[in-house]
């Protein structure tokens, strides 16, 4: 176990744990905090979480593999999350995703998150981003973009360089 958790992050995590009557209940929040900091959840991060909560690592791995928003490998510097829930699926989400993949040399038919070999861009489908009236929508890291056309998506890509 060789995860270097900065003291500030560990203090934040200790606070998170204190919010729950049972330590175990803080599992998801801790994983989010670790992923926000490290960008992904390594085996060490899972072991660290388990030790922190007095659990077995398999208990934490179950969560990490269940929830699609947890990553077990680093993603790109710029993460494109394209919505494919009903409104966006009808409004051109798949075309948007396909266009991004084509521009970045990724396979639009592949399941799950994909990252360019240089580690700069990731593209993935996500479920509802809560702006169904302005489909299709996507997020680039934490920035939200609505009614995105393929051209606009290309512009977004070029801004990321």
């Amino acid at each position: 176990m060789s995860l270097a958790v900065p003291p500030a992050l560990e203090a934040e995590i200790d606070t998170l744990i204190s919010h729950y009557p049972q330590r175990r209940s803080a599992s998801l929040m801790i994983l989010h905090a670790l992923q926000d900091h490290f960008g992904w959840l390594s085996q060490e991060a899972i072991e660290w979480t388990a030790a922190k909560l007095g659990l077995q690592p398999i208990n934490v791995l179950e969560l990490v593999t269940f929830y699609p928003m947890f990553r077990q490998a680093p993603a790109g510097k710029f993460q494109f999350k394209v919505c494919r829930t009903l409104s966006c699926a009808l409004g051109g989400g798949h075309a948007l995703h396909g266009h991004l993949c084509q521009k970045l040399g990724l396979d639009p038919h592949k399941h799950g998150i994909q990252t360019t070999p240089d580690g700069k861009f990731s593209v993935e489908f996500v479920e509802c981003l809560a702006s169904c009236g302005r489909a299709p929508v996507l997020m680039v890291n934490e920035a939200f973009h609505e009614a995105v056309t393929p051209d606009q998506a290309e512009a977004l890509l070029s801004q990321c360089r």
Binding site: Q56, P57, I58
Partner: protein, 574 residues
């Protein structure tokens, strides 16, 4: 493996208060409360009520000794409850019987709705329909769903022949599949631990293995990773599923997902002859079923006995059977010639030689070392012989590590048998130093060693050379049999009938699973001959008669009958 766990729950009686329910139209009174997996009284479930009515409800995840998970859905049963009027009084039919409201979907009153029988408590007047058309349809649907991604590789699956998927497919399955999509492929030949291999594609995700190791053993090593049809049983990368009870998960696994490395691909289970027996690895005496074919033992599996081992046994004991088939087994009666060489002989000649010698021996010059691995009947006979010739007797203690579950620190299966028959006193092994010293000084000139190597027990090998007569009755060659004047090949307990008395005083009978090699005979048979040759009463010549003779002579066993021991034994006070 630190926290105390309900590995062997207390045996609790169901409540005296009963509830009347109907199962397939038949009235039955069942206890209101029944013990759960921890032996605590809980409201009786629909599944228990059906079992009491003698109606089988198919299930994968439910097990009486595991916490209820309710995830496989196979035990869905259609049911109905008495209707209540607005006045909280039962609504009656015209004939005065209570009107039953069948369970239906909330907004689809025409569609029956089942409940999982393993986790649904019964209520007074409830009607269960485990054989109705709707129940059958639910089972078909569940089974079809479970088989969607199953590889259907029964021809090469170890579980074939004892697989719940197969059994329920025969009863509730469909002959053809409607599934035309590509099956999800999951990990195969997963090396979970030193004794377990996992095939994830065959798994039905019942979580029996997870619950067993987490809740009973306290070694929370297994979990389900991934989501949906990619769900997979796994251990955390880099960790091993290796506690001393892992092989119980192979028995618990209702399908061919968890397999034993020892038994994997060794034998089709339908060829195995099954014999009830006892594990002889320690003083717990776990009840086992021996699986053998053509005199070769292929596996031991635990046999249910709530007074001894529940449904379980330890991995070490389970795998401790290969020595029975070792190629260097003693298989010839041998007598040492005046030239010093051992020569093959016959039982008549060898026993005659022993008897002649014993008749001449003076009291106090004979020692008998009787292993606590012998049966109680054999120890009794040795005691009779010992008294007749005035021998000093003892047994060899074997102490080792015990645990909080089933493994006992006493590694002899029958030291209590030795105690009961008087072969040893309060302190087994206390006579050994005196015997060894007697052999060294020449005070003891005759030694009969049964199932024990004197050299291993601390007697210098050169002392044995001074003996006038060394008789070794044993199963495998050792330093004592190599120096003996008479070698008598004996039987492993799996090759004969008899009883052991376990650490808690349980007198347990076992049967013969396989034939012994060559000349080898059960010790009790030739000891009866020897006892007669020494002037003993003609007595019985079968194990039942011998047991009854022993029960008359040994106070602890007073009143016991061979047939009454059954396959699960009787507890006596040692």
């Amino acid at each position: 493996m630190s926290t105390p766990t309900p590995f062997l729950p207390p045996q609790t009686a169901p409540s005296a208060e009963t509830i009347r329910v109907k199962v397939d139209g038949r009235d039955i009174d069942v206890p209101k409360m029944m013990p759960d997996w921890q032996g605590k009284l809980q409201p009786t479930t629909m599944l228990q009520a059906c079992q009491l009515a003698g109606v089988e409800v198919p299930h994968y995840c439910y097990h009486s000794k595991l916490p209820v998970a309710g995830n496989c859905r196979m035990c869905l049963v259609e049911f109905g409850t008495p209707m209540m009027g607005p006045d909280r009084k039962p609504v009656l039919n015209e004939d005065g019987t209570p009107k039953i409201a069948r369970s239906v979907l909330p907004y689809e009153p025409g569609t029956p709705r089942g409940a999982i029988a393993c986790a649904t408590p019964i209520s007074p007047g409830m009607e269960l329909y485990p054989s109705s058309a709707a129940t059958r349809q639910m089972r078909e649907a569940v089974l079809e769903s479970l088989l969607i991604n199953h590889p259907l590789d029964c021809p090469i699956c170890d579980q074939a022949g004892e697989c719940k998927l197969q059994e329920y497919s025969v009863q509730h399955g469909q002959a053809t599949t409607r599934f035309v999509e590509t099956k999800v492929h999951k990990p195969k030949v997963v090396d979970l631990g030193p004794r377990i291999v996992l095939d994830d594609e065959r798994c039905v995700l019942c979580t029996r293995c997870i619950r067993f190791t987490r809740d009973l053993v306290g070694d929370d090593k297994l979990g389900i990773v991934n989501r949906g049809s990619y769900n997979t049983i796994a251990a955390f990368p880099g960790t091993r599923f290796e506690n001393n009870y892992t092989l119980n998960t192979v028995d618990l696994c209702p399908v061919g997902a968890l397999t034993s490395k020892d038994f994997r691909f060794q034998m089709r289970v339908w060829f195995l002859k099954e014999t009830p027996s006892i594990c002889a690895t320690c003083a717990t005496g776990c009840n086992v079923t021996v699986g053998s074919r053509e005199e070769v033992i292929h596996r031991l599996t635990p046999r249910e006995n709530d007074a001894v081992n529940g449904h379980w046994m330890c991995d070490h004991g389970r795998l401790n059977y290969r020595w029975v088939g070792r190629s260097d087994r003693l298989a010839e009666v041998q007598v040492r010639l005046s030239s010093g060489d051992l020569q093959r002989s016959s039982w008549t000649v060898a026993l005659d030689r022993v008897a002649q010698h014993l008749r001449k021996a003076t009291a106090g010059s004979v020692a008998i070392i009787a292993s606590a691995r012998l049966t109680t009947e054999e120890l009794f006979l040795l005691r009779q012989i010992g008294v007749r010739v005035g021998a000093i007797m003892d047994s060899v203690p074997r102490r080792g590590e015990g645990d909080a579950y089933l493994v006992h620190a006493d590694k002899n299966p029958n030291m209590n048998g030795a105690r009961a028959t008087g072969v040893v006193g309060a302190e087994p092994g206390s006579q050994l130093p005196r015997i060894i010293e007697g052999i060294r000084t020449g005070a003891i000139r005759t030694v009969l060693a049964f199932g024990e190597d004197l050299v291993k027990a601390g007697c210098p090998a050169e002392s044995l050379g001074r003996l006038e007569m060394l008789v070794a009755g044993d199963i495998l060659p050792n330093a004592t049999t190599a120096r003996a004047h008479v070698v008598l090949p004996g039987c492993a307990h799996l090759e004969k009938r008899g009883t052991f008395i376990n650490a808690k005083g349980r007198v347990q009978r076992f049967r013969k699973a396989v034939e012994a090699p060559g000349d080898a005979r059960p010790e009790w048979e030739y000891l009866l001959d020897l006892h007669r040759a020494l002037g003993g009463p003609s007595g019985p010549d079968n194990i039942e008669g011998l047991f009854h003779w022993m029960a008359r002579e040994v106070p602890v066993l007073a009143g016991l009958e061979w047939s009454r021991l059954g396959d699960t034994g009787v507890t006596v006070t040692i």
